[in-house]
Symmetry: C2
Subunit: 355 residues, 2 copies
């Protein structure tokens, strides 16, 4: 990976960048950095939680209150590690019907879908940054198994895997967990990204995401981490500070097609990125989500799955709601430099308790 | 307005509704209401601020630190009431150039546009709910003047008027203020709403928003407030709890075409709605934004401007980011009933200090 290459030449004043994947302009408002509100919270280092919380429904001993367990396993013959259950307060349920019902000029239907919770560890405070890479790989393995299971259900058209960490990111429980939702519709937002990638393919004859990856590897200035199968970078037109895309080097539309080798490497990339933002950004709340193609599109040459991490450091306000444009107070190149291993010594690197 | 009409018949379990204006499905997850996190904050009544804060840059006496004043006026020969200035930390500046610059496969340009702050009162704590309707009308008048001024600038293609109230809504200062941003591009999000309205017009031969208004007036169950020129309602497929649309009865694409009578009535509707959410929802943070057509579309038969209010009671999380769908924990009909005058006596109604 070359690093020296093309830092974009500075522009007069602020700058706008176009994201070809979403069709959205992002405004880089660097002068707004001087506002009193700071980007990075004042918390000193990682938050602390006990290893066991007797009020937490995901801690061991509350199994009688959990919905039926769908999947449970550990490494080799070790103790139980991962547990997948139906969400107790589901947004969507498999009993729903997809029949559309007209109501005047409007339309509605029952809330069909699956909503599962993946409890990532029996320990209440064992978040991904303190797990071993092998433990993280178990999470990726569970994602893969549930993804294949759910996309295989005839009525499901999309499976969304995501993780909300902290209250600002929408999490109501701190126990390490991810969520999986399947839907019986393809949302307009997913179709729009599909159309844009298709338009690009029809014009250039190549996958937009493969080209983006080549561009990032060539420019070098927005890459934070890379291994055998994945490259982690701040996208050129990141909509918010420290947004990270973990992109597979190999072109695949469908997360379900991830290989065994890729699962190991995704675990390693995810682990590294979540540790990095915890250490460098004072343990911020964040969301991540796996973008994968809708059903029937998994062989399309233009689609390319990836994982997107968004630390919650800023607030979506009136202008964003009205225009769909974002105002980002820092440049992707600066964010990448801040997250690269060089500027600060890697805290805890080689620390046996963390690796 | 008839109220008894068509409450939608209940569905089994959760429900999904389609918003024809945005093309987005919204999931109504009523069971999720039982989660520990409460929708309405624990704050008891309105927040309190002093009438004057010597550290606030918008309070009188800090004029030397303000950017040049663009507009300033009051009622008749009364003291100064409204003041519009350039934003000191602008997201966009009029010096920017609209020339697109390629950078590898990407594209960028300078951050062209106007970014203004409308200081709504000299008093630090004179928020809209405690203003007189006449004072609110002065704000609407200022919106109108600046809108006409900015949309008249040749390079501007869109003008967005918005208000962020409270930290969760992205406001860094509590002094009563709104913001106005003009852009030299039409954002994809605005175009998408335009296309959907155009598709509807091409199919049905009428304005989608006019039809929505007729539908709401006929159903009656989502309307909160109505006067001579405006109807305020929770849209059928509201993306979040207590989202309110204030819709002009008369079909106009362009906020710039608002009449004198409509300005009076919009002030009255906005005043009533902001008081209502302050009283009933414990003074929540909120954003509002005026949706108006992009330039060159102001004569189109399908576009219809309106004002959207979004109280910040929930958090956009991983699923929303990945799918573009929203999970709403309450039904629009229930929200409307909660905000209607009937269930609680109007606090402060007839109170001379508030009217």
């Amino acid at each position: 990976m070359k690093r020296a290459a093309s830092t974009p030449p500075p522009m007069h004043g602020n700058e706008m960048r176009y994201n070809p994947a979403t069709g959205r302009w992002v405004i880089y408002a660097l002068s707004r950095r001087q506002r009193p509100r700071e980007l990075i919270g004042s918390r000193e280092g990682a938050r602390t939680e006990p290893a066991y919380d007797e009020l937490c429904p995901f801690c061991p001993g509350h199994e009688q209150d959990l919905p039926p367990i769908l999947l449970e396993y550990g490494r080799g013959d070790s103790h139980r590690q991962i547990r997948v259950v139906r969400n107790k307060y589901p947004a969507l349920t498999p009993e729903g019907d997809l029949k559309r019902v007209c109501q005047g000029m409007y339309m509605r239907m029952e809330g069909y879908g699956h909503h599962e919770v993946l409890i990532e560890s029996p320990e209440h405070n064992r978040q991904i940054p303190v797990m071993t890479p092998e433990e993280v790989e178990l999470i990726i393995e569970a994602y893969h198994r549930r993804y294949l299971k759910l996309i295989g259900v005839q009525k499901n058209l999309l499976v969304v895997i995501f993780r909300n960490y902290g209250r600002r990111a929408g999490a109501s429980l701190m126990h390490p967990h991810s969520q999986i939702i399947s839907t019986g519709v393809v949302p307009g937002h997913v179709r729009e990204m599909e159309y844009r990638a298709q338009g690009y393919f029809d014009q250039w004859g190549s996958c937009m995401y493969c080209d983006m990856l080549a561009e990032e590897l060539s420019a070098g200035v927005r890459i934070i981490h890379a291994n055998r199968s994945f490259v982690s970078f701040i996208p050129y037109a990141a909509a918010q500070p420290f947004e990270i895309w973990i992109m597979p080097r190999e072109h695949k539309a469908h997360f379900g097609d991830i290989s065994a080798e890729e699962k190991t490497d995704l675990a390693s990339s995810l682990h590294a990125m979540l540790r990095r933002i915890q250490e460098r950004l004072n343990d911020p709340d964040y969301n991540y989500v796996i973008h994968s193609s809708a059903k029937y599109r998994s062989d399309e040459p233009q689609a390319h799955w990836f994982l997107q991490i968004g630390p919650k450091l800023t607030t979506r306000a009136g202008f964003e709601i009205g225009s769909g444009m974002s105002i980002n107070t820092s440049l992707p190149e600066d964010d990448a430099a801040f997250l690269m291993p060089d500027p600060l010594p890697e805290k805890g690197a080689g620390n046996a308790s963390q690796e």
